[in-house]
Amino acid sequence: MSWMPCFLSMLSTLVLGVSVPPGALDCWVFLSCLEVLQRIEGCCDRAQIDSNIAHTVGLWSYATEKLKSLGYLCGLVSEKGPNSEDLNRTVDLLAGLGAERPETANTAQSPYKKLKEALSSVEAFEKHYLDLSHATIEMYTSIGRIRSAKFVGKDLAEFYMRKKSPQKAEVYLQGALKNYLAEGWALPLTHTRKQLAECQKHLGQIENYLQTSSLLAGDRHLTEDEREHFCREILSFARRQTGSPGHKIVLPMHSFAQLRDLHFTPSNAVVHVGGVVSVEITVCSQMPVPVPVEQVAINVHFSIEQNSYRKTAEWLTRHKTANGMVSFPAETSPFPTSRNSLPALELYEMLERSPSDNSLNTTGIICKNVHMLLRRQESGASLETSAGVTLEDGAHVLKCTDVTLEPGPNTITFQTQAKEPGTYTLRQLCASVGPVWFVLPHIYPLVQYDVYSQEPQLHVEPLADSLLAGIPQKVKFTITTGHYTVKNGDSLQLSNVEAMLILCHEENRAVIYSNTREKASDASLRVQSSDKVTSISLPAAPAYHVIEFELEVLSLPSAPAAGGESIGLGMTEPHGKHEDTQKAGQRMATMDHKVSIDCPWSIYSTVIALTFSMPFRTTHSLLSAGTRKYVQVCVQNLSELDFQLSDSHLVDTGESTDLQLIPLNTESEQRAHSRQAVFFVWELKWTREPPPSLHCRFSVGFCPASEERLSVSLKPYTCEFQVENFFTLYNVKAEISPPPGVEHCRTGALCSLEVSITRLSDLLEVDKDEALTESDEYFSTKLMYEVVDNSSNWAVCGKSSGVISMPVAAQATHRVHMEVMPLFAGYLPLPDVRLFKYLPHHSAHSSQLDADSWIENDSLSVDKHVDDQLDGGSVQSRGSVRTAAGSEHKGLPMPRLRALPPGQAFNASAGTQVLVIPSRDDHVLEVSVT
């Protein structure tokens, strides 16, 4: 049966060429179609026909169409029936048909008879036309050609409308409309909707008619006149109904106007209790003419939010949105449905780690809105949701009355005063035109504003990064008034701290800012100080404002409890040690001052801790030159500021009269630049035997170099320290001499090293320790010497260390002879000679053992030499030492070594160099330059 389209095509082709009176062709086509269909029915059985509906339905549809046009032509579809002209035309057509052919003349039903009957009366036409139409629709529906069925149905609806039976037409129109809407065909949709509007008007379905009218009034496919007509329909209805209030007609808003954007003032949509929030919305009116709207309202839902963080002043100031603008997606015409109605995929990265070793187990992507995307597409849900729109009744409504919405964008501003703290969510937007309410049921994305109530707060913070002790520093006070109104006479009561002063100036000014950080006013501040309390009288400020002022505080410069690290620097290796300490202490020592403040709004005190940093750090060292002693104090400026130092003093707190500290500092004023150090030196002189330790207090006045005049007198910086064992007991002198007969030392040739250790004083208080032995009024102490060459310039041949028994008497000298070999040529520094106190084991107490355990570790290596030396040396009581060291290395206490304090041993040959010339037969010449 695939010939059917060809047949149809042929029919239409033939028809084109013939010139005949109007209607004649239609008659011919109608008859042809029916004849063909009848033939088919005659030669095929039912099942065959059913299976070939797809091919025959075209003919049915064609025949229906032709009959319809004949009906219209002959006036059979009008309400009044045919007029005389129509009748004339009918007669002409019937005559043109001629006589029925003999082969069908006798049958009860033939296409010829059907046509003739249909054209003869209005009722008969209706019957035949409906028969054909219904048959066609049924056939189309049965083979799934819904669109075609709807199209025929629309013709049928048109017919019913002509026949003034809109209730029958409505079903077909609604069916077609739904189809076009679902598939997004704008032009057929508009056309059908227009027909439906007429139908609804006839039926008196006011609500539906108004809704359809509003859709049509906003339809851009219609002409301006048509749109205006439908708009006026709504307006005139609204005007008519104003007399009888009570009944509301609720319509969806999207056809009437669209919400474009929304803007809050303040822009972060957070406002304090009593503040004013305004909402500015832009609504795009779809109507072709200006529409007077009695009231535009936004329904607001109020909820008390538990998480109150959003409503604090911090949040307010930190979270300033760019402009507070919320844009709503432009509601495109409701099609294409399948694409735009679906939300965008919300994809997130997912990483799953194993709980044991935190290694990556799984990775993937999660779609968080699956429930939205995989929802079944409700086929039944009507797309024009008129029934779904309900008017919400809320206690909180933002209103705006008597607005005229011009076509296009309109701006409407709502204002309200915030009352209760909580979150307010904008839910519905509605506009009323008389009894007609246009409602936007959900405002999405979610729009909220927050109302907060805040407790008054006081913040005190330094103006700079850190506060420096000793000089006036500015501290900023910030009072957030919150719900409290600061009255005249309210004051802050600060409890005074001994070590911190609050400096009162003549002129103190406070600035009052509004909640949005705009300067509101400026007022003077009165600060009164008594010995215990400082009272600051605040200027009057309204609620939800900020008062800011600055005060100067001065913390007394006291050296931190730990004091300057008392590093006694000896002559031996001053440079290395100095570098170490510099690395260790670059941070400033700090001290905290706690101030308790009584605020007028609270019965509790606010305690505020201010941390001050000492700008200086001092280190001291003892320097020796033979028996002369010097105390050096190094003041390091750790801050970023430059200071002027003056009036440096070093006093002995022991008050001993026989000690004298003579300053060697030439300048009375010195500048300590940022991150630089200044040194002060005193010579220590004594007349009688000096005490074993010296207590010193160092003080220096300082002020910031940038400020010449200061209103307050500043306290000097002081620090105390102790110098111990400063008196030189031993003089160690090393000398290297070339082999006899040679003028200079040569590399590779043995030279003699002579070390002489000289006792400089008689028995002193400091000598009385375990190492001291007495025999026959003759005192001696045990010392250990060690020759070490760290720079590997010398090879020490034989024993490099040994224990000697030193008589405790002035000018007692012990000489040690050793052989060393220079390894390099050049001016070589002498090897170091170190001197230790050698303490016997039996006097060691367990507690002391712990304290000196570091020596014990060292002594293991030393022990061997000690033994060797003991064998050859003439040392008393050697037996006991040997048993301890030789047989019981572990477990039992061993002889201990204690380094002599650097002040007690003076290395007279420090810095001395010896010229070594290269040996003649050396092939490789090595020159060491130091």
């Binding site: 008859l31 043109g96 199209f151 065909w185 099609f335």
Partner: protein, 177 residues
Amino acid sequence: MAVCVAVIAKENYPLYIRSVPAENELKFHYMVHTSLDVVDEKISAMGKALVDQRELYLGLLYPTEDYKVYGYVTNSKVKFVMVVDSSNTALRDNEIRSMFRKLHNSYTDVMCNPFYNPGDRIQSSLQINTDLTSACHRGASQRSFHVRVFQTCSWELPVSPHTAPEGLLVAGPSMAW
């Protein structure tokens, strides 16, 4: 000699539909929409065929008195529907095929445009029909979809049915006027 060209998305909403003359736009919209029934039928009929063997051209969808409606479906189920005047007998299947193929190429060009979101309406730079002829002369340098389409479909104004040759053989029931 196309009178109406439509590009229809997979979901059956029109991506592009244009008819000339514009007065009868609505009629063509209905016609193209109704033809989707046949397109759907044809697609489901050949649905089982292998992709590479599938014929994209669907052939004549259905004839009406004055027009013939042809269909074409891309592999992504985008449909092209073209309405041609029935009186133009010169248009054979081959010409229709090649017109569709060119239309397909133009559509591919549009899809290649990085600024085009698949599924959006295809915008034509030509707003009024009077622009058409001049635009056609400006030629391919202006790569607008519209121009391409109507060049492809060898646009001409439809010939009135009365200018068709006379003396055709009329078969069917006898008629006397």
